[in-house]
Amino acid sequence: MSARFRSPGLLIGLGLTGLFLAAAALSLAWTPQDVTQVDVARRLLAPSGAHPFGTDHFGRDVLSMIIAGARNSLLVALVAVAIGLGLGAPLGLWAAARGGLADELVMRGSDLVFALPALLLAILFTAVLGPGAVNAIIAIGVFNVPVFARVTRGAAQSLWTRDFVLAARVAGKGRWAISLGHIAPNIAGLLIVQATIQFSVGVLAEAGLSYVGLGAQPPTPSWGRMLNDAQTMIGFAPWLAIFPGLAIALTVLGLNLLGDGLRDALDPRLERRG
């Protein structure tokens, strides 16, 4: 059992994700310097001992901003995943349990959402509702719903044909009792994997939205906006773009590796049989 959890991809993914979560947790209590503290005299310093990642055009410490930015990314992506899972999974279970019209409704609805370019619509959402972390969460979360609905419905549908579900029906259990008692626990692994992958998509989407100025508003530090700010100064202060860019890339990479590794470890189809 434990051997299956020892793939290098999974371990690297776990390490990077752990670093990201630790940074977000740390920022609640402490950052090397106050990220709201502006000190124009110390602006645009190259990376050094005092400022390992350098300072920006307001003299803020880039390392501190990246640590604090992790919290914003985490919050937005996590809540967006929770929205997707919380609405999508029950919809998928419902579609699989009822079949017929309910199934058509859920699947065609998700087709509709899939047909629209997610990030563009998220930009539209936040442009209409106004920029800010909460609206970014809603915009990203809405697009997670059909993803979870589909994954849940597909897996649940194949479980509904199994004999143990038939046995539960003979035992007089209703659709919801079976969905919650038998179906949901058996697809939990699959949903965890999907949640990890949607989490990485969420981090990327949040960075994208704040890059165009529709995510968390200043002074809340955000990786996407740091990239945007760095754009005009990239010629003489490249560290301003490199470090937030790396933070985004490594976090997304880590979460994807974690998701893939978990899928390999949890997928019953790959499970060795005795």
């Binding site: 051997a3 199994r162 004999d163 143990f164 038939l166 046995a167 539960a168 029906r169 003979v170 035992a171 007089g172 259990k173 008692g181 038998h182 626990p185 058996n186 060795r272 049989r273 005795g274």
Partner: protein
């Protein structure tokens, strides 16, 4: 040629430190048929895969395997590839998964010649046509509707298995390994496929290892039998001797014919119709498929009724309707004279319970046995809770011959036979009066099957249960039922007391079924 063709000695296999095969040994001579028999999980298939050097990833294999004096274990992988398919032909249980769905069968058989003999496309196809013809396909000219140009999904199960056999025997291998080659097939098709296999092996003078859980299949086919249990070969010998040693596995089950109870039926169906919407073609749907077309069925209290038919005859659909899971489109079902169906009351459902075929699939892998067995309890008017619930479960487990500790384990920790005992305990916990058994013993090997049947017979006597045995296996129906119904294409074609139907079948289909059934002991 002197000496055995295939020798397996001291073959052991361990996976993650767990020994799955220990000290397996047997021999097969050229032209000989060896039956390798055992229940699922006894290591039969692992043995075959180890002989081919295709064990599951991570497995550690030790021991000696030699084919015609050549040691296979020390062969280079490139040479081994020539042995697989070239010298050893392999036939799997499920032909659909053994064939490539997007290649025509002609190309698939031809591929064997192209890979192993380096033939060109045209020559290979000609050889493929010959190989398919040998497997009973009339190929003839390569025209549009030649079987060579068909895809696997266009063929029936039996035809697909013929394609697999054509591929396996294309290069005239010295050894054929057939892993449950007929388990997925109907009785009538099974008989044809088995005789084809035997004649091909004889024609080529090849050794044949027939792996199966069904002793009856082996009885008519094998010269010698090796019986496997728990990863070991527990018995080897000439077929007649081994089978005689086992005796008639169904002896003592045969129910004393009960006097026909003239009470009112406990479960009754009249003119039952169950149809499915046909597949959509564009916008239009074609006529619905009638899986069950007007079936009458009467089950008296304590009666043991057999429902026999091949797969696709509508048995399982009928069963679901009788369980009140699916509403029939026509006809009616009555339980003790009261209407029964999709809107059945809890009390009614408690009276009709079921045991399903697959002992591996009928339990939620994440539930403990205690919860599994107790699952139908809420159907009872006053279900026991807490400690009383546990005591009740343990009592049920004891009734089916399982220890109290079983309650705390998971289904996958039990053997196939034990799982079916758990399934029976689950079916009995509400104190039902009717138990529907859907191929409940089909997946078990013969001795275990006999044990379960004996248990069912005893429970029926003790508790006055009425059974409906749904099965494709006539030997089972014959051994344990009082009355039997034969179903074909959604209709009951014959019905009568079991002994009478078997002694003098009236419908030609029943006669055909009886003739095709492999028999344990030849008269």
């Amino acid at each position: 040629m002197s000496g055995p063709l295939l020798t397996v000695e001291g073959l052991s296999l361990a996976l993650d430190g767990r020994p799955l095969l220990s000290d397996v040994g047997f021999e097969v001579a050229a032209g000989e048929v060896l039956g390798l028999v055992g229940e699922s999980g006894s290591g039969k298939s692992l043995t075959a895969l180890s002989v081919l050097r295709l064990p599951p990833p991570g497995a550690v294999v030790t021991g000696k395997v030699s084919l015609g004096g050549r040691d296979l274990m020390s062969l280079a992988e490139a040479d081994m590839r020539q042995v697989r398919g070239g010298e050893i032909g392999l036939i799997f249980q499920e032909p659909m998964t053994a064939l490539n769905p997007v290649m025509t069968i002609g190309d698939q058989v031809a591929e064997v010649f192209r890979l192993h003999r380096g033939l060109g496309r045209r020559e290979a196809l000609a050889e493929a046509a010959a190989a398919l013809a040998r497997a009973g396909f009339a190929t003839g000219q390569i025209t549009v509707d030649s079987p060579l140009l068909r895809f696997p999904h266009e063929l029936s199960g039996g035809q697909r298995q013929r394609v697999v056999i054509a591929m396996a025997t294309a290069l005239k291998p010295r050894l054929i390994l057939a892993d449950e080659p007929t388990t997925a097939l109907d009785v009538t098709t099974q008989a044809q496929i088995l005789s084809l296999l035997k004649s091909l092996a004889r024609e080529d003078g090849a050794g044949l290892v027939l792996i199966t859980h069904d002793l009856a299949v082996v009885a008519g086919m094998a010269d010698r039998v090796a019986v496997m249990r728990g990863g070991r070969v527990v018995e080897t010998g000439p077929t007649g001797q081994v089978l005689a040693g086992l005796g008639d596995p169904y002896a003592g089950i045969a129910v004393t014919p009960r006097p026909a109870s003239d009470g009112s039926p406990v479960l009754e169906a009249r003119g039952l119709v169950r149809a499915y919407p046909a597949a959509r073609r564009g916008w239009r749907r074609s006529e619905p498929v009638r899986a069950v077309g007007g079936v009458d069925l009467v089950l008296k209290p304590g009666e043991r009724l057999g429902l026999v038919g091949e797969s696709g005859s509508g048995k399982s659909t009928l069963l679901r309707a009788l369980l009140g899971l699916e509403a029939p489109q026509g006809g009616m079902i009555r339980l003790d004279g009261q209407a029964f169906g999709a809107r059945a009351t809890r009390g009614q459902r408690a009276a009709v319970q079921a045991v399903f075929q697959d002992p591996y699939g009928s339990f939620d892998p994440r539930w403990r046995v205690e919860d599994l067995v107790a699952e139908p309890l809420p159907l009872m008017a006053d279900p026991p809770r807490g400690a009383a619930r546990r005591a009740h479960v343990i009592e049920m487990l004891a009734q089916v011959g399982l220890p109290a500790e079983a309650a705390d384990r998971y289904a996958h920790q039990f053997s196939g036979g034990q799982r079916q005992r758990i399934a029976i305990a689950r079916a009995l916990i509400t104190g039902p009066r009717v138990v529907l058994l859907d191929e409940a013993v089909s997946a078990l090997d013969t001795p275990v099957r006999a044990e379960i049947l004996r248990l069912l017979a005893r429970l029926s006597d003790d508790l006055g249960l009425a059974y409906l045995f749904v099965t494709h296996d006539l030997t089972v129906a014959r051994a344990v039922t009082d009355r039997v119904m034969v179903m074909k294409a959604g209709k009951i074609v014959e019905e009568g007391p079991t002994a009478e139907v078997f002694a003098a079948p009236k419908h030609p289909y029943t006669a055909e079924l009886i003739a095709a059934t492999p028999r344990m002991l030849r008269p």
